[in-house]
């Protein structure tokens, strides 16, 4: 896929996951090193602050989407994650890559919304 196609796919997955009931926010996926590099890129203007938060990696046999979500306290993380995974898969399938692996991690439970 091209860079623009990747960004379109990431944006569509992001929108689909945000729309899932119980999802409170999306966070930037990746390691601390990734976050540090990203913060530097944003500070220097090399990266738009509105760039997709989802991380896409092209593996040998599949495109992998790494997604970090927050979940409302009143919504169970287990059920919300299941729905978010389904939504992400559906959004990815619309772009037609041969194989997409979705990896979702809950990184925050928003207790204010409990």
């Amino acid at each position: 896929m091209t860079i623009s196609q990747d960004q379109g796919l990431a944006a569509d997955i992001e929108n689909a996951v945000r729309a899932v009931p119980g999802v409170s926010a999306l966070f930037r996926a990746g390691t601390l090193v990734d976050h540090t590099i990203d913060a530097g890129a944003r500070l220097t203007g090399l990266r738009d602050g509105s760039a997709p938060l989802i991380r896409l990696d092209q593996a040998t046999d599949a495109l992998r989407a790494d997604i970090a979500i927050g979940v409302h306290g009143r919504a169970g993380a287990v059920e919300t994650t299941r729905r978010a995974h389904e939504a992400a898969l559906t959004a990815a399938a619309a772009h037609g890559p041969d194989r997409v692996e979705i990896r979702i991690t809950v990184v925050h439970i928003d207790e204010a919304q409990r």
Binding site: L32, L53, A77, R82, E101, I104, T105, V106, H108
Partner: protein, 201 residues
């Protein structure tokens, strides 16, 4: 609680919370989270730590003043201990698998945040450190949850502990698929409240 067992949260390296310290997060709360700082708002670790700081501040200043008044030697070790726990526990830590038939998980930091938030349901209780015993990264493995808590003087400790254990258990069931074998709660502090003994927050 022995504050000497844990690093000073105010001196932790900036890498602990996506480049921020507990001190900076406290200042951010003081400023009403304004102007918005996306490096804080978009950091899961900072959000977990902010949640805990807000709850800590939910304890009235009266409670803290009473505690200090009761111990004029200015022993604020329990506050330091709580802050140490907040900073350490907010780190993402390991990824705990969620058994949902897909590649899904929840960070150790998020689960600790869930455990800490059980304070909301049991008035007067403050949770210090929480740890896991067992391999939380292996689905289905038996796990014990170890929690340290501070309770107000005069409260029936067995009752508080029972309610705290039930609340933590319910939260873990809602947000994880951990095979929780037991929840061990150690009351490590009893806080003296001068005129409101036995009352909650």
């Amino acid at each position: 609680m022995n504050a000497h067992d844990a690093p000073d949260p105010w001196r932790m390296g900036p890498e602990e919370l996506d480049g921020h310290t507990i001190d900076e997060l406290a200042d951010y709360l003081d400023a009403g989270r304004s102007p918005a700082d996306p490096t804080i708002d978009e950091s899961a670790g900072c959000r977990i730590a902010l949640d805990a700081l807000v709850r800590l501040r939910g304890l009235t200043s009266e409670l803290i003043e009473a505690d200090e008044a009761a111990e004029p030697a200015a022993d604020d070790s329990w506050v330091q201990g709580i802050l140490s726990g907040i900073a350490l526990d907010a780190r993402a830590g390991r990824r705990i698998p969620l058994a949902v038939g897909a590649d899904a998980g929840i960070t150790e930091g998020a689960v600790r945040g869930v455990i800490r938030a059980a304070e909301n349901a049991v008035a007067g209780v403050l949770i210090g450190r929480c740890r896991f015993q067992g391999d939380i990264t292996a689905a289905g493995e038996p796990v014990r949850v170890l929690v340290e808590a501070s309770v107000p003087y005069g409260a029936a400790i067995p009752d508080l502990v029972d309610r705290l254990r039930a609340e933590i258990g319910a939260r873990l069931a809602a947000h994880t698929t951990l095979n929780v074998e037991g929840i061990d709660i150690t009351v490590s502090d009893v806080r003296q409240l001068s005129n409101r003994t036995g009352e909650g927050r």
